[in-house]
């Protein structure tokens, strides 16, 4: 997403520059040689067309909706392009350490899967929250969940994270369904 926003931003910049050049050239040309018609863009035809359209017209309304949606998408894209890396405490002055959410999720996943009676686990991690979804055939949620919470919390004690994420554990067990 960060790369996408970077490219998008470059394209918007280029579009603005092109619009600026065309605006300055057309206005300058019309001023210097009045009555010679437009230079590059058929803006006099556009003006006649705009004189026919009213603000309430359906094509104007459609264009406004499209502009609004595009604007909203731009805002969402830019808002979701933030850093996702998880900060670890600095081991020394001017040394900063991060790890990726994926790495933290892998670390937790390996530990959880190594527990007894865990058949499989899915882990997602962010700087604020770690979600563990474990599958067990032998134990119920009530039996396994406290143990897994303790394991993950013990693991997080070992990792020097700047802020400790909240941990949520869900156990999916066929024994609970009976």
């Amino acid at each position: 997403m960060r790369l996408f926003v970077r490219l998008l931003s470059a394209l918007i910049g280029l579009a603005l520059a092109a619009a600026g050049v065309l605006l300055a050239l057309e206005v300058g040309w019309g001023w210097w040689r009045p009555g010679r018609g437009p230079l590059f863009l058929p803006w006099d035809a556009w003006r006649d067309r705009l004189a026919e359209l009213t603000w309430g017209g359906s094509s104007v309304r459609l264009a406004a909706i499209v502009a609004g949606v595009v604007g909203l998408l731009l805002i969402l894209a830019a808002a979701s392009a933030g850093r996702r890396a998880i900060r670890l405490t600095d081991p020394a002055n001017e040394v900063s350490v991060t790890t990726s959410p994926r790495s933290l999720a892998r670390l937790v996943g390996v530990t959880v899967r190594a527990q007894d009676n865990v058949a499989g686990a899915k882990v997602t991690a962010s700087a604020k929250k770690i979600r563990v979804r474990a599958i067990s055939r032998m134990e119920t949620e009530g039996q396994l969940r406290p143990r897994l919470l303790e394991t993950v919390s013990g693991l997080l004690d070992e990792v020097p994270l700047v802020r400790r994420p909240k941990v949520s554990v869900v156990v999916d067990s066929p024994k609970d369904r009976r």
Binding site: R6, A18, G20, A24, W55, R83, E94, V97, V159
Partner: protein, 195 residues
């Protein structure tokens, strides 16, 4: 809040690009909503039925032709300048500054990257490492990405890194502080063969 050189070196900043993109998005969103409101007749029933190229506005423009033309040309030049600045800022490459230790001693970025990389790969549990110099020549920093093999103790690598690799780099360069950003990545285990 100013972030330290090493924290900035963790990744390329996209702050300006994101801010500008949000601004353009807001302009498009608010413009669209404004046109819809106008068209729906909420600002006066008859205003919504007037043409887009309003004769009143066109008359006003032709009465103030000089000001309107100068304004349009200035606006065009400003847009061009802003657009080009924005374009080149978005696509600027990330610098690889050399480290200037003394007036006549310069360590090239590739030399220090290679030396630190070879050092970092000797740490137990580090599968591979990538090192590059980032920042500008005023504030150079190192960015180290370490891929750890599965089952490695994260905390031990985190400790070892400063005690051995970075300490040695600082010592050999003769600097007290070497801004460094470290990214730790956990690799999945390579498939093991049954013994």
């Amino acid at each position: 809040m100013t972030r330290s050189v090493s924290a900035k070196a963790l990744g390329r900043s996209t702050g300006t690009e994101r801010t500008l993109t949000v601004l353009i998005g807001l302009v498009a969103l608010l413009g669209g909503v404004a046109v819809l409101v106008l068209g729906a007749g909420w600002l006066g029933t008859y205003r919504g039925r007037r043409p887009l190229a309003d004769p009143i506005a066109l008359d006003w423009l032709s009465q103030n032709a000089l000001a309107a033309r100068i304004g349009a040309i200035v606006l065009g030049v400003l847009l061009l300048w802003l657009g080009l600045w924005w374009f080149f800022r978005s696509l600027r490459p990330e610098g690889r500054p050399d480290l200037e230790l003394d007036d006549d001693l310069v360590v090239t970025s590739s030399a220090i990257s290679e030396a630190v990389r070879l050092d970092a790969e000797t740490i137990d549990g580090v599968g591979r490492a990538r090192v590059r110099a980032v920042g500008d020549s005023e504030n150079p920093a190192l960015r180290i990405t370490l891929w750890l093999t599965e089952g490695t103790d994260l905390k031990r690598v985190w400790e070892q890194l400063d005690l051995t690799v970075l300490a040695r780099a600082r010592e050999s360069l003769g600097v007290a502080v070497l801004p460094t950003a470290v990214r730790l990545e956990l690799d999945t285990a390579a498939p093991q063969r049954v013994r």
